[in-house]
């Protein structure tokens, strides 16, 4: 008794049902990448609204303990290796040649060298750096708040996005709210030391509220804009990663 009783043969309806169920996986697997992209186009606006809703300038993400810092967990990712910035790997003697350009729809566009950046209020944050690939690392970043730089250049009311250009031609674009979040910084220090070349020296983006691919290394230019230019969403975003990338 209670033996599993299966029919010796399937009738048409059952066969169709079984076929339907077992083929779901195969069907989905053979879906074209266009269909996959459509799923993204269809649902990403909802996900983006959800992400934007969560970003509040007055809500700070709690920091981690210093003992939680795990330098080995931070993997090195770049799409084209470490760039040769300002002629040759970014050696200490080249640091005075570096300039950070801030322009776009701002009242006072500027070019700043590292000494000028050092005059600004310094901050640091111990945060979880979350990569889109699924790994995460707790890192301490130190530098200046992007919002302090914005106060200097004074973006016009029309500015809604911020574009970042890097020495390796990597590009990024952000919503203004996330860029002006008090925990978004342009970092020149990592785990208390001067920022290593491979991690984006002399200046890189850091924030606890965005995925790692939004955190450009080797930043050379920050532009406040009213619209993201066509093809300028960002290196990975143009290939299919979501634009907002909030976490």
């Amino acid at each position: 008794m209670n033996r599993l009783k299966l029919p010796s043969h399937l009738n048409r309806r059952q066969a169709i049902q079984l076929l339907g169920m077992s083929s779901i996986g195969y069907l989905l697997n053979s879906c074209s990448s266009e269909f996959t992209a459509k799923v993204g186009d269809l649902t990403e606006p909802l996900n983006q609204s959800f992400g934007e809703l969560l970003v509040k300038p007055q809500l700070l993400i709690p920091e981690f303990a210093k003992s939680a810092i795990d330098p080995k967990a931070l993997l090195l990712n770049s799409y084209d290796g470490t760039p040769e910035i300002v002629g040759g790997a970014f050696l200490k003697e080249n640091r005075d040649k570096y300039r950070l350009t801030i322009d776009g729809e701002v009242k006072f566009p500027m070019e700043l060298n590292l000494n000028a950046l050092k005059q600004l209020p310094q901050t640091s944050i111990i945060m979880q750096h979350v990569c889109v690939e699924g790994w995460a690392a707790i890192v301490q970043w130190g530098g200046v708040r992007l919002r302090d730089l914005a106060k200097m250049v004074q973006p016009k009311d029309s500015a809604r996005y911020v574009l970042f250009q890097s020495a390796d031609k990597y590009t990024e674009s952000w919503d203004l709210a996330s860029a002006l979040h008090p925990q978004t910084i342009l970092a020149d220090r990592m785990n208390g030391e001067i920022l290593p070349d491979d991690n984006g020296a002399p200046l890189r983006l850091a924030t606890p509220i965005k995925l790692g691919y939004k955190l450009s290394k080797w930043v050379t230019k920050v532009s406040f804009v009213s619209q993201i230019p066509k093809g300028g969403k960002g290196y990975w975003e143009e290939q299919g990663y979501e634009w907002f990338g909030g976490i």
């Binding site: 008794m1 697997n29 799923v39 993204g40 992400g51 979880q128 979350v130 290939q239 299919g240």
Partner: protein, 200 residues
């Protein structure tokens, strides 16, 4: 063994079309979540990191990481809201009082002599037991989707690796459940019971 007993049809619980639709949506969205989830897994395997073993391509959905994320973060709304609507439904219709595992089932297993009743008790235990697993999949997923904004939720899962491991474990548990649920369902009510959940 006993012809009389096997011929006697067990009562087939009537399913409402509403429940059949929710059940179907959960099956479809669960498999999309698993396929796309394994695609995301492969970008950095939970076990072994970058050196870990990836899942074979035929098990994954989306073609590459961004495609997998499209499916995963698109379907999560269907998956989560189907479960939420189902939760509200069983609450409003009071189904939770009679359709899920109860002390009666445990009693049937402990002292019951009726083998049909015992199988039915197991059937109810199993399909009740999957609900917390699916909820755990959503909660741990949310903690990983917005680890900064929902830091209080991520904090409950100790650290990133533990969080990823728990989220991943809901996959083999769900698959094992699907398998056992089909088998025990057939044993408890024959294919008539299975059909009652799929046929309009």
């Amino acid at each position: 063994m006993n012809n009389k007993q096997t011929k006697k049809s067990p009562p087939v619980p009537p399913q409402t079309n509403f429940v059949k639709i929710l059940h179907g949506l959960i099956i479809i969205s669960l498999f999309i979540m698993i396929g796309s989830g394994l695609q995301i897994y492969n970008a950095t395997p939970v076990f072994g990191g970058k050196d870990g073993l990836p899942f074979p391509k035929w098990m994954t959905l989306g073609g590459w990481l961004a495609g997998g994320r499209n499916w995963h973060f698109g379907t999560m709304w269907v998956f989560a809201f189907t479960l939420l609507i189902y939760g509200i439904y069983i609450f409003l219709t009071q189904r939770w009082k009679r359709k899920f595992v109860s002390g009666q089932d445990l009693k049937a297993l402990k002292v019951g002599q009726n083998p049909k009743r015992r199988i039915y008790a197991w059937h109810r235990i199993i399909y009740t037991g999957i609900i917390p697993v699916l909820i755990m999949a959503i909660v741990s997923g949310l903690a990983m989707y917005k680890p900064a904004q929902f830091h209080w939720l991520s904090w409950l899962f100790i650290d990133w690796q533990t969080l990823r491991t728990i989220h991943f474990l809901t996959v083999p548990i769900s698959l094992l459940f699907v398998f056992v649920h089909i088998i025990i369902g057939i044993r408890a009510g024959g294919l008539r019971l299975t059909r009652s959940m799929f046929q309009p």
